[in-house]
Amino acid sequence: MNRSHRVGTPAIVAAAAAVAMIAAGCGGSSGSSSSSGAATASAPGITAHQILIGSHQPLTGPAAPGYSEIAPAANAYFQYVNAHGGIYGRHIKYTYLDDGYDPSKTVSDVHQLILQDNVYAIFDGLGTPTHLAAVSFINSSKVPDVFVASGCDCWNNPSKYPQTFGWQLDYIREGKILGAYIKQHFAGKNIGYFYQNDEFGQDGVKGLDYEIPHSQVVSRQTYVPTNVNVGPAVAALKASGAQVVVSFAIPAFNALFKLTSEKLGWTNPTIVASNVGTDPLTLGGLLQAYAKQAGATVNGNQLTNGIITDGYLPTLGNTGNSWIALFKKVHDTYDTKAPFDGNVLYGMAVGYTFVQAMMKAGKNPTRADLVKAINAGLPQGPAVAPYAYSSSNHAGVTGAYIGKIMNGALVQQGPVYVTDATPTGAVTAYTGSEQAAPGSGMP
């Protein structure tokens, strides 16, 4: 008995010590991810002084016109944040690789970012077909995949892609808001669709079809980004007698559509187009550049005049808006090479949202902390409508206003509308207020 007691005591002591050590270890790790103490290397990509994030962007290729400005603009906002104290003292380093809008290149880019560069998160990966090719790998690597630069409804799938969050107004909501406007303002007219033949265009059409009576749609034409010959699609739309053409297309293909229809002598259809392809400066510039290649001279602003679209960020012309003032200031200091257009505004606004989320994730965040922070919801930022973020919803901005392009600038028409991504959810005017930008320019 005695002997066994003697043997037993050290064993119990040892066990107790082990439990105490485990408890202390747990306490230590949970303490380090809370707000107290010094900045530590709390996750891959995070050191005491730096947060490394990565992205894939179409810096070349068919989607480059316009979109190639987005990542430098987000980076410009990060420079501003770095110059104003950073995120809990850490500077953001943003590495964005060119994928040329080619899904196979996206796959190798994202492998390089996650496996070789060891980024903390993938931020604002651009494009529906491109990001879809990489989203499984990012999620299986448990890397936060925040604020994808695409409005595909596919990012809102928390059970399948728990790491992935959308950001911009998704295409189903956008289609519904544009569709509700068309139903109201173009009743009885013939409607034709022109859209990119992947989840981007198909989601948009889904939203449109929820609102526009099917009998009104006389033709549905598609394009693929790798084939610039849109002649047959435009000719079919013209032949169908469409009076209103709704376009879910990237800027280059809106420009091709417009020039081809002009060439076919079809100058009068009303164009209603997704925000994705209608930044006036980008579109006007593309129209002039493409016309020049074909040996013609056109006035970009004249051709874009009257295009109806939507916007979920304040209009650039609204210089009294605190967000526009902030981002103009950042642009004039850190992003002087790019024009101050819709793409730059987009990049800065999504950059702001990332800083918002990182501040919320805590002083020494793990990768899971960032996901947890966004799952708990983010306060409304530069967008005109609130975010949908929750643990069961990974969609971003929930509403937009209708706008019209006039003399090369987007002009808001009427109120902000909000809706959901379901077939039956109503499109209603937003009753909440928009948020002003903080005076410091930091969330």
């Binding site: 810096l59 070349t60 899904p103 196979s104 190798s108 077909p129 090719a133 299986s140 992947d198």
Partner: protein, 351 residues
């Protein structure tokens, strides 16, 4: 004896790859998987060009066939990995029969043109029939490491093992084929068709057979590509890929299977390295995007000037392993009908 030597070499290579895959980072594992894809595709091509004396600028299209076969078989029939590889190779081989039958009637630039057509036309099928092939976006492929390896096992290491293991098996098979009666017959046809026909060889059949072997290798490589990149999309199978395969075969050394490895290393590592250097030196992205292509060109020119027989030929000369005849000044600067220094075959007539 030859078989034993090849298998022995493969086992040594397998051990080296295993050590590399365990000791290097996940990204290097990913690159090993990538290199293995090119090794298989280029090995198939080097058999076609180096041994049978035909050229194909369309092997990227056979890779596309193999890759899409893999995606479709997995998506619709749920086939496992071990069945996908041979099935994809077989489907590409069937396509190779058709292409080879046409190719057997063509020579030189006409053959190059016909196969180039294949490389240009085939990938656009994917965008023409988006319902089946998923358009520009392509189709997903999902392969996970076996549960027996544990949840913490790096998935890229598994992919490196799968692809590198497959590549080694292919190399052993091809090495034996090259030393077999068929391989010798191909060389006879390459060196002098008329003489080969007079000797009783069925020239057309042999030429088609070479095409089939090369297409099957390309199809298998496509399948491996689909597996390690977890998707297939037309962007992977542009004309550039087909040209890159030929470039890799030429840089490595035509007709030499070891050359396929050197060629693959150049194709995979040079662009990554050069892009890293270009971006870290602050070049604009539009410039940086074009630098790898330029680097290719520079490497190709440099290799051809320094080692007209490719890297493998250069190594052989450097280590004095070469039959003296092949290093002589009379070696013709004609990659399609050049004698093969590695072969045991005694040539006649071409020089």
């Amino acid at each position: 004896m030859t078989l034993a030597r090849h298998v022995g070499a493969a086992i040594v290579a397998a051990v080296v790859i295993w050590v590399l895959s365990v000791s290097l980072s996940s990204f290097r594992d990913y690159q090993i998987a990538d290199i293995a894809v090119y090794v298989v595709a280029i090995a198939g091509l080097t058999v076609l060009i180096g041994l049978s004396g035909q050229i194909s600028l369309g092997n990227g299209a056979f890779m596309a066939i193999g890759a899409y076969a893999t995606a479709l078989l997995q998506m619709h029939l749920g086939w496992p990995l071990w069945a996908l590889f041979p099935a994809s190779a077989a489907i590409a081989a069937v396509a190779g029969v058709a292409a080879g039958a046409a190719a057997a009637r063509l020579h030189g630039p006409y053959l190059a043109g016909a196969t180039l057509l294949l490389a240009v036309a085939l990938p656009s099928f994917a965008t023409q029939f988006p319902g089946v092939f998923g358009g520009d976006q392509g189709l997903p492929v999902s392969v996970t490491a076996p549960a027996a390896l544990g949840a913490a096992f790096p998935p890229t290491r598994w992919l490196a093992w799968v692809n590198a293991g497959t590549a080694l098996i292919v190399l052993v098979l091809l090495a034996n084929l090259a030393r077999s009666r068929v391989g010798r017959s191909w060389q006879a046809v390459r060196d002098d068709e008329a003489a080969a026909a007079l000797a009783g060889l069925k020239v057309a059949r042999l030429r088609i057979l070479a095409f089939i072997v090369s297409a099957a290798c390309a199809g298998l490589a496509g399948s491996m590509l689909a597996v390690y990149s977890s998707q297939v999309s037309p962007g992977s199978f542009t004309v550039t890929l087909s040209i890159a395969l030929v470039t890799g075969a030429v840089i490595g050394g035509l007709g030499s299977l070891a050359g396929a490895l050197w060629g693959s290393l150049v194709i995979v590592l040079v662009p990554t390295y050069v892009t890293d250097v270009a971006t870290s030196h602050g070049l604009s992205s539009t410039v940086a995007a074009n630098i790898p292509v330029a680097a290719y060109g520079v490497v190709l020119i440099a290799v051809m000037l320094l080692f007209p027989n490719g890297i493998q030929g250069g190594l052989r000369r450097f280590f004095g392993l070469n039959p003296p005849a092949a290093t002589g000044p009379h070696v013709r600067f004609n990659s399609l009908r050049r004698r093969q220094p590695a072969s045991e075959h005694q040539e006649e007539g071409t020089t």
